[in-house]
Subunit: 80 residues, 2 copies
């Protein structure tokens, strides 16, 4: 069903930065449906963590691309 | 110098699949220079692992996008 599984963690300079980026991406995470992947999105201290299951390589790339784009938008707003 | 650090692991159904994808991406990893990020690229059993340091959010997204693109090309060739 989900032959590809994975884990992405990104550590920011401090917990406050991670918290702001996490909250910003969480909004997108909650509103965008993904039918070809399953995603857990978390914050652990100064890290933002994405755990995912993907049905195929397109779902893998598409899903991570979306999260990376949202993270970049939030990080840019913080001049990171 | 590198305010963003991170870790991406992707697990494939078996070690042989991971090995083929790893070898394919390794070629790109060795030939493309990245000046705004530092990357370790490894295989651990059925997992492909990318450890990275990025100078800014653009370097973060650009770097991971490249690896995800290469991984997708290799996975597509395996019909994954």
């Amino acid at each position: 069903m989900y032959p590809i599984e994975g884990y992405l963690e990104i550590a920011f300079p401090d917990e406050e930065t991670a918290r702001i980026i996490y909250e910003s991406v969480l909004y997108e995470h909650k509103t965008v449906p993904y039918r070809r992947s399953r995603i857990e999105f978390m914050r652990e201290g100064r890290k933002v963590v994405i755990q995912f299951l993907a049905r195929d390589s397109s779902a893998l790339r598409g899903t991570l691309n979306s999260y990376l784009r949202w993270i970049k938008v939030a990080a840019d707003a913080l001049d990171l």
